[in-house]
Subunit: 156 residues, 2 copies
DNA sequence: GATATTTATATCGCGCGCGATATAATGTCA
DNA sequence: TGACATTATATCGCGCGCGATATAAATATC
């Protein structure tokens, strides 16, 4: 088959509809791989990747409300509320209504949740090793994705 | 706050555990944005993004078996079988057991499924527009992700 | 002070995505 | 030829992720 487009020559519709030519599919399938690696690492702590992301947010800043976590993780509250409930059931976080504004729910770390940070500090390095590439490459890729993300959320 | 690491200086554990420093989170959140844009485009055709991916595979090659689709999409059969059933219910694909090897299920396009290709030919350009960036940038990003994907699936 | 509007979170239902498990078909070997 | 191993798909249960909808609280308006 013809090689994928690598020049400025405008690709044809048929080429655009080829799976491997699509950046979106590369994103989608790479994330499947990311999740597979995380599952291997987090399973023993009875955590999923989205739950781990919530913990990352809280390890950086304790006692924040649900909508702030939603903003940072680009998630809807309909996704986050059940997720937080599971973490609360696990004893890793606590939730309470804000005294100042009872519409808001404040999410905080428990002692167990705080202690987990140290136990999971090896995880980023494991992912880095699994992904390969130099630090500079990774940073550049991350920054380019971040730009694409901004554009996508503007367009949506 | 300190800027994210951009040099070869080894980042500290705390920096590695920062959400925005992680390539994985950039991937995860960018894919949320991708899905949001696709939902806007595919809703009127009553399709989801994973279903659209299956159609892309079949538009490229009709009459293939389930495990081949799984390979191309990096999915487990436990994910694909229900997904194919929904597409079959929609009348877009057909499924039948192979005469040569009855363990295998052959998936093919119906007339309606084939006709959908033309109706959706604008979708890749819409995503391209939503993502921004030159064709060269997109191709480079895609190729780098593809390399990372290979490493991840090897490591998993 | 009453009503309307806005904001924040909760619940529901559905479509994934996958580990665990089950069933059936094919291949291998003694 | 029969027993066993391997392969392919199906089902189950659970954790997301989100659109639709509901409820309650805060703010704005008259």
């Amino acid at each position: 088959m013809k090689s994928p487009p690598t020049s400025s020559r405008a690709p044809r519709v048929a080429d655009k509809q080829k799976l491997e030519n699509q950046l979106c599919f590369a994103l989608y399938s790479t994330l499947l791989g990311v999740n597979k690696v995380y599952r291997g690492l987090l399973r023993e702590f009875d955590l999923t990747y989205p739950q781990y992301l919530v913990m990352l947010v809280l390890w950086e800043r304790d006692q924040i409300n649900v909508s702030e976590i939603c903003e940072q993780l680009y998630l809807e509250t309909t996704t986050l509320t059940p997720l937080l409930k599971r973490l609360e059931t696990r004893g890793l976080i606590s939730r309470r209504r804000s005294a100042e504004d009872e519409r808001q729910v404040i999410v905080g770390l428990t002692e167990e949740g705080r202690a987990l940070r140290q136990q999971l500090k090896h995880v980023p390095d494991c992912l880095g090793a699994a992904m390969g590439g130099s630090l500079d490459d990774v940073v550049e890729l991350r920054d380019k994705l971040t730009k694409v993300r901004s554009k996508l959320f503007q367009a949506a």
